[in-house]
Assembly symmetry: D3
Homo-oligomer: 293 residues x 6
């Protein structure tokens, strides 16, 4: 069960309205690597988890923090839209980011052309659970497989992609209020990258899982002769120069090998057979069976 | 530019048709963590890459291998559907997996109820680029951010989730032809997990990127006091017991701290302000400006 | 069965082309609350309905009217695009809305940047069944549950959201031809809001359904002690001041109560149990059964 | 900011595993009218709201309660899947719902054919944020327009559709643990239908909004002569018998009229004009301008 | 503007309920090649068309017919679901298709496992605008490019895929009522395939468009030396045996040529250049500019 | 199995960066009729095919060529984005297409408003597998039915729509590098339109399939009296003037007939019956059965 307090985890107030940046910043809210994605991912990983309490508790802690991040970003976007498009002209004259660039009587029209039209028509000046292109968030961005090493590798990825996007957006605005909130989010993403890397270390140390995931699949059922071979499928052999082409494998269970000219190990591609069931009407057409119902 | 040879990379032939398993196996073809996803992800990472040749070459090698995996799995599914639903009854009597369970004159109807109806109606006994629920593959499963550490963390995840799913599907069939192909795919996924972990090591060694991603964002613009704090947002403190709660951080740049009762650092949530632009017709309704156009 | 006449229900001709407004106006055609949504919703409610003829007839009447609304809006958008982007410059000079704002030799490029690129590339100057962000209409916007009170509540919502969006778009254009058509649509939405509210009154009067929907679910199987309690899950008690916190409930079957500090009525969250089936390879990993197939 | 307690709001434990019902029950979690939809809808309505505190507080209260409902349902589904498909046969013999119906050595295969394959392959026995057909939840199910009367009409709809679906699922199971949780959810949905109806009464009493939404759009810009006319677009006049065809309109601002044979008020449909811009290559093809770039 | 009559274009009544076939038959309603797709495609082609009246009239005729086909199929599906799942057991005993196969007390559970769960939970026994896998119809299935030859080629395809699917579904049922309606739909699809082929002949005869589409793109801007070459990109030369490899091209403007070993005509793939803009934080990381904002 | 060479099939280098055109050009990469669609369509048609080798070989040849087209277009887009938005101002001053139009200190902001924000935030200057509106590519654009005449009709359509879009994009840029690549793609699309038309001729000549698809459905089961009738469902009879209204049908099996006033051949639409199963809680509500579980 959850409770809500009426303070933000950190500041969420821009200096000035900026509908163009509001559009761009939607990526952090409803984008594939935005805050709704990590909130939902950690919640489902926590709810579905069947192992030691410290992992479940940790997942629920961070999941709950992320609901608060969604709250801050949604509020920031709504405030960037506080002055409606109809009124932005005045704000522009008063020095907003958009105003610093576009001026005179044309401001309104130009901003309308560039902003997310749904911020006016659909949400009436509120944040939307969509990305910077207006594409709706969907639950395929929620990853919870039951295997915590597979999932925590995803979590490290999510915090890396997320911090990368905040850093890029930081360059697209000069608003000190927005940048203040970003300084907080960047730091939390630094923590979360470290946290999931540490959790992976802990998982392996506790013997819960290891490389290759899943590690309790019976080794003898894997075709071991190709388990550590790098195969070169394109011209040139620059790919031979990397760590992945020689030396001990990262799981400590094999030696990397470089195969410069990988041979096909399978048979000649032959025609699918039998050719066609007549009642599926595929090509080539076949005579219909006489008693066909 | 690409060329096609007419041999499979490995065997792709089941012992017997099995339309129920064909439905389930679609997850490996058009699912979020299936082979189309890794093929497209590695292709786009390669095509968009702007760094040293060995990385780009390696990405293109593995991307090209994956097109061949898509080929094998699509072929396997088509063969699992080789006998049409109308005819499966005979196959069942001859000892297929389905036949081992369901028998007599009811077979056809029961199989039709459980199989993917689009395997009959839409593809006419062919594989479809969808997952095991019939949901179409989409390009949100393709990840290529330009930041190779962020992306290779994704690649490790993809190979972990993918190998996990092959292992689970291995348990859902007894067909020795299917299992033979799975033994090959499991081994290649073992290699690829190792490969991306080795590539991450190489990237860091070469100084191309490190934790936290992106590492060249100016440190002083991050709010450093919260960059290594674990915050406890749920009852109980089991989460204090893990590696993430104390000791040096994984990036070697800080010390983990545990905050048992995190305080809100932001202001009281206040009403969004100004309340409402009248011409957006939001709540509470406002008088219309007299000269409103 | 349906027939088509060759007159529009009302005028659908703009004074001037305006590709930016054409993009925005797509929301009324292919948006979640656009005309395709109400057309399809009323059609499916009518086709699936199993009750008295007057309701089915009424649903089909309004559904059929809505096909004509889709026709008008699609035509209006095609006409707003009548001058191709390549040619809009001249129209602009001749005084179109866009022309009033942007001028000189830069017009063409600026319009191209702001318009929906698919209006040029995909539809060749025609309307598209998508929303103002280019997101395709989908049938999840069609609501038909079989329970007419639940569905007519949706219909009131749809006409409210729809009229709200027309009113907002009215502010984004000065074109008198567009505004003329909007004056018609606004009035029809006024009628339709009233119509569905009246139909709800009729449904209840006829004894077909009432609050709570569904009303023939046996009362004794509901946990009645929480059926009229407002629960306060956030700091502060401003929520106590509303009609929902005290007095008789709207269905006349209970009294609202305010619970300032709601207690959890369920058990402590415990670990899911049994921990892990080994052959699903989840965390923590388990020994494989010896005879595992 | 949010906090998590470690108790459920109510019980969430089935008597027996039942993978078929787990598939069906996903509708309440990730379906269009499931708990994620109301949680997200109320959160965004609260975050975007710009009016009196009592409404915002009330929205946040109920939004926060709904996060706890998502938690209960996700947990229930995970428990319905607790015994993996591989092991369900034993559970079946021990008397589960599935076991009551299907028996003998065929159990496993039959269940596998009917269950959601992703419950085994993708989530490893956990709940998924998708509906009963495996279609992912998406944010188009989140409605927050800024106009609270439009939105609260949606909220009444959502609680009506939601309660209807719980009632239908109640009939699809005999498990007393599942039914116990449903008795709680049904009662909360009864409260929430009443709550939103009461909130609409309050909104109107407080003068924040009224029918037709939006009520501050200038009346004189609407084409008033069609604002209260019911138009008959299909054969027969059964639709004349309802409350919507005569008497005062529900907003008290007009009189319903019945138009048995509605005339087209617009012009003859004519060809779109000008016919075709040559450089869009539409039909009929036009000569290319000589100096075309 | 449209009108509705109260008779079906043809019969739409099954002999018996059959919830499994109702699921399969959804493909014809809300599938990619179902009736909603052709209805919407022809409507949009008609509304967007800017050429001679006979084409527009013909498009609107057939579009309007298709609305009536959607009506018949939606009604048929609702009737196949007429007996609710809870009651199907009796129907089964009375001889429905499902009943012919599954019997005794297990019927209900087995049908529930195989049917579309949303037919019970979401639509309450009505048809849904989704396909046989429950995937919602979306407007990407609507094709209207403005170029009528391109679009009529699509129309021939749509009627071919559609008739193919009806023919396949014909084999999946023995219900004489369903097959009666199918005999009508198959014949109309025969007409429509012929109609679009005839319309293509007419378009070319009238000089409105020809191969290659678009034919008024200036020939000299195309790289003519590769405009009629078949290129062999896979092992073997079976592809040389077809009509496409030699002889006059179908547009009468060239001669087919077979290129057995196509050479790359482009440059060596080189590294994208410049390598990385530092403020996008891509790989390899670059020093930040000193004055970076 | 596939191999990659390190040369492009043709040139893929623009003269200048142009982020606005990069957004528009995405339509050719990840749009419905873009290169990913034809690559995947031909691959799946080839892999699923069960007929003569020359067709399968031909499908694989062209499929493999298309992978190389995807490669060229992805590279072109990445190069159009080579100068980051932050730096485009300089490029603009140096004479890029954007620069030719927009100038002075406002350039950066205006470009940011018009470009695809995900090209900066998500891909970091790389191509994305989405269309010009940012909508992700999905596998519903892959058509492979098993019936090769139905599918090759689709292939002709795809190459027609594709060439049409390239021609339109040709008009939206003056960049000679881009136009050089387009001259190659236009020519290949000319070939491919001819190729599929020739393949259809071959298919029919070889007796594999003919009109109406599928041609081996037993003629006597089709309702032949409506198989060649054009039905007029809208006012006026302009549609009588075309080839589709009289003369021999295109399949040579009938005579077109024009039906000016098509009669309904089905019964009066009646109420669905039985009215409502009480346990589905639809309208009108029914008394619950006494012993209802």
């Amino acid at each position: 069960m959850f409770f809500h307090t009426k303070r933000f985890q950190y500041n969420a107030k821009p200096d000035n309205p900026d509908p163009i940046f509001a559009k761009q910043m939607q990526e952090l809210l409803g984008g594939q690597w935005g805050e709704i994605s990590v909130m939902m991912t950690y919640l489902f990983q926590g709810w579905n988890f069947r192992g030691p309490a410290k992992y479940r508790d940790m997942l629920m802690d961070t999941a709950t923090e992320e609901i608060g991040h969604v709250e801050m970003i949604a509020t920031m976007i709504a405030r960037l839209l506080e002055t409606s498009p109809v009124e932005t002209e005045e704000a522009a004259n008063a020095g907003g980011v958009v105003g610093a660039v576009l001026g005179g009587s044309d401001t309104q029209e130009a901003i309308l052309a560039g902003m997310n039209p749904q911020h006016a028509i659909v949400t009436g000046g509120g944040a939307a659970p969509t990305d910077s292109q207006g594409y709706p968030w969907n639950s395929r961005y929620t990853i919870a497989s039951g295997n915590l090493l597979a999932d925590m590798r995803f979590n490290v990825t999510a915090e890396s992609q997320g911090r990368l996007q905040v850093a890029r957006l930081y360059q697209l605005t000069n608003d000190s209020g927005v940048r203040d909130m970003f300084s907080f989010l960047l730091a939390r993403d630094t923590m979360h990258q470290n946290q999931w890397l540490a959790a992976i270390e802990e998982l392996e140390k506790d013997g819960l899982e290891e490389t290759p995931v899943p590690s309790n699949f019976p080794q003898e059922r894997e075709m071991s002769e190709v388990a550590y071979r790098f195969m070169n499928f394109s011209e040139g052999t620059e790919s031979q120069e990397g760590r992945w082409a020689s030396g001990p494998s990262k799981d400590g269970k094999g030696q990397f090998e470089y195969v410069a000219e990988p041979a096909a190990m399978g048979p000649q591609v032959e025609k699918l057979d039998p050719p066609v069931e007549p009642r599926l009407y595929s090509t080539p057409k076949q005579p219909m069976p006489p008693a066909s119902s």
